[in-house]
């Protein structure tokens, strides 16, 4: 077999290991769905009526959930990334990873397995979140093609945030540290067009909201699902995803190659 097919085979082995982990320890996966669902129910059920009235013509659709759902989807990706960062951090502190490093296996396969596993878990979470949104009145107008495009963009976002989360997990010395680093992507959607349009915000905040990565991604998802104008947001969204993915990937690989110095085995003599 060639080096590439060994690399794929090792990555599949690692993915299988990652699946077993999420079956044995489902708390992280379930927690990843819990956060966005709570926000969805809170904003729709508690603040939704007032927010819908305040939005006026800025929002399409009959109810606030139609405006909110794309933002909640993005939060799902953020919350899943936080879980990934914690998982990676815990895993890297296990002796088994040091063992992998002393074996003649594809070096990237450990990370690849975790990234692909997280990607699949996040897509499943997103499907469940959409189902809950439907249950509370979400009625998207998207065609099949638009659904596929939205799923594609969401997968790109998830891949980007997952690589970033893997880097966080490698950099952080403790799971708590990995969690705090993940708060940035997890809560950045609050200062975006997720809950209210950016042009309703005060000047400084508005500038930030309009120029941060989540806004064009949310606007593109909203346009695809609800038929609002997309403009150049689609291009910006893809560019941000590719950029974040590249930074996350390179950072994670660099950290992984430097790893031994901080595996617990190294600090004892």
């Amino acid at each position: 077999m060639s080096a590439l097919s060994y690399a794929i085979r090792d990555s599949v082995t690692m993915l299988r290991r990652d699946f077993r982990h999420s079956l044995r320890y489902p708390a992280m996966t379930i927690g990843g769905i819990g956060v966005p669902v709570v926000f969805l129910l809170l904003f729709v059920g508690v603040f939704g009526h007032t927010l819908r009235a305040g939005l006026g013509a800025a929002a399409s659709g009959a109810s606030y959930v139609d405006y909110l759902a794309p933002g909640i989807l993005v939060m799902t990706a953020g919350a899943a990334a936080a879980a990934t960062a914690i998982n990676v951090c815990i895993d890297m502190n296990e002796g088994i990873v040091a063992r992998f490093r002393t074996m003649a296996i594809s070096r990237a396969s450990v990370l690849t397995g975790q990234v692909v596993g997280s990607l699949i878990r996040t897509l499943v979470s997103a499907a469940l979140v959409i189902a809950v949104a439907f249950a509370v009145g979400f009625r998207p107008t998207a065609t099949a093609v638009q659904w596929v495009a939205a799923a594609g963009l969401f997968a790109m976002l998830t891949l980007a945030l997952t690589w970033l989360a893997v880097a966080f997990g490698l950099v952080a010395k403790t799971p708590a540290g990995a969690n705090s680093m993940s708060l940035i992507p997890e809560f950045l959607p609050f200062i975006s067009s997720a809950f209210v349009p950016a042009d309703t915000m005060p000047a400084g905040v508005r500038w930030f909201a309009e120029n941060q990565p989540f806004t064009p991604i949310i606007e593109t998802l909203r346009g695809l699902l609800m038929g609002t104008p997309i403009g150049n947001n689609a291009l910006l969204a893809v560019a941000w995803c590719v950029g974040i993915a590249a930074v996350g990937y390179l950072w994670a690989r660099m950290q992984y190659d430097r790893l031994p110095a901080r595996v617990p085995r190294a600090v004892t003599a």
Partner: protein, 326 residues
């Protein structure tokens, strides 16, 4: 086991499983390994003995390709550590003091994971896993997650995972630290069986009995330097310290004996006297005759021959530290 190596083991053309020359490693300003020269012949058990913080684990991490060395020439299994690290990984196995097992998987799943990573086909992998579970007495626990295993079981699984790839050279980094005496003896027997099968073992330990029991050759590492090396017997011969300890009923007896015997060190609290003696029947008889002649009333006596403890303390003790510091 403790005798010098049979020459047949060291006359092979390449002969050395590990060879280091001037190996150095520091973390920041702290020098952890300060010019290490080692030869480990194939098919032997080599013990790197040293106290906590001596640099043993760092040594294993460098030799097993986990850490980069700063300077020196190192070959592992005849391969250059810097240029042929991935070829080295294919022939070594590492079992450390921190168990390298996956706690969320079962024992069987851990072994099959290893089989998959060694690219065995499904059936061969399962067969190999079953063999190892049987050999390491883990059949009953095979379907339980490792989190429920005892320390000894984890260590056995850890070693079984290492063996799945049929390594030629195995690093055992403090393999019995934290194990009960029974599990420790099991590990020792496993190590002996492996070497009998032609594997080389590079062992680190701070347990002197372990080095004495297992090792063909010992190097004593202290503060990043090899302070002594040799077979267990050679090391013991190098250290003076053989003596007889005489126990007395009272201080009068103690002091009478002291005046008669002259060269002895007195411990008034324990009512004992340490008399230099090499422990041979002849010199013991001489001592007993002398005591008898002066009618000294000795309660009992114990003979103390130098063991690796003496070697260890003589070479790595605080006094030695002071010399190092100055």
């Amino acid at each position: 086991m403790n005798d010098p190596l049979p020459t047949s083991l060291v006359t092979e053309p390449t002969g050395l499983a590990v060879k280091t020359r001037g190996l150095r490693k520091s973390f920041g300003t702290k020098t952890v390994l300060d010019g290490i020269d080692l030869n480990v012949p194939e098919g032997t058990i080599f013990a790197l003995l040293g106290p906590n913080g001596a640099g043993k684990t760092t040594m294993v991490q460098i030799l097993s390709t986990l850490l980069r060395l700063d300077a020196g020439e190192v070959s592992v299994a005849g391969l250059d550590l810097r240029r042929e690290a991935s070829a080295i990984r294919a022939v070594i196995g590492v079992t450390g003091q921190f168990s390298a097992v996956d706690n969320l998987l079962t024992g069987e799943e851990n072994l099959i994971l290893m089989a998959d990573l060694h690219h065995l086909d499904r059936r061969a992998g399962r067969r190999r896993a079953a063999e190892l579970l049987d050999r390491f007495d883990l059949v009953e626990a095979a379907r339980q997650t490792v989190a429920t295993y005892s320390g000894g079981m984890r260590r056995r699984l850890d070693l079984a995972m290492t063996l799945l790839g049929d390594p030629r050279l195995i690093f055992l980094d403090e393999p019995t630290t934290g194990l009960d005496p029974r599990s420790r003896r099991t590990m020792w027997q496993i190590a002996r069986d492996l070497v009998a099968g032609g594997v080389t073992i590079f062992l680190t330990t701070q347990n002197l009995e372990e080095a004495d029991q297992l090792a063909d050759y010992i190097a004593v590492l202290d503060r990043g330097r090899i302070v002594a090396d040799g077979t267990p017997n050679e090391l013991k011969r190098r250290i003076p310290g053989g003596h007889v300890q005489l126990h007395f009923r009272n201080v009068q007896g103690l002091d009478t004996a002291l005046t008669r015997l002259g060269e002895a060190s007195r411990d008034g609290d324990a009512l004992t006297l340490q008399v230099p003696n090499d422990g041979t029947p002849k010199s013991l008889k001489g001592l007993l005759d002398q005591l008898d002649q002066h009618a000294v009333d000795v309660e009992r006596l114990t003979v103390h021959t130098p063991d690796l403890d003496d070697v260890f303390f003589a070479l790595t003790g605080p006094q030695h530290r002071k010399e190092f510091a100055s």
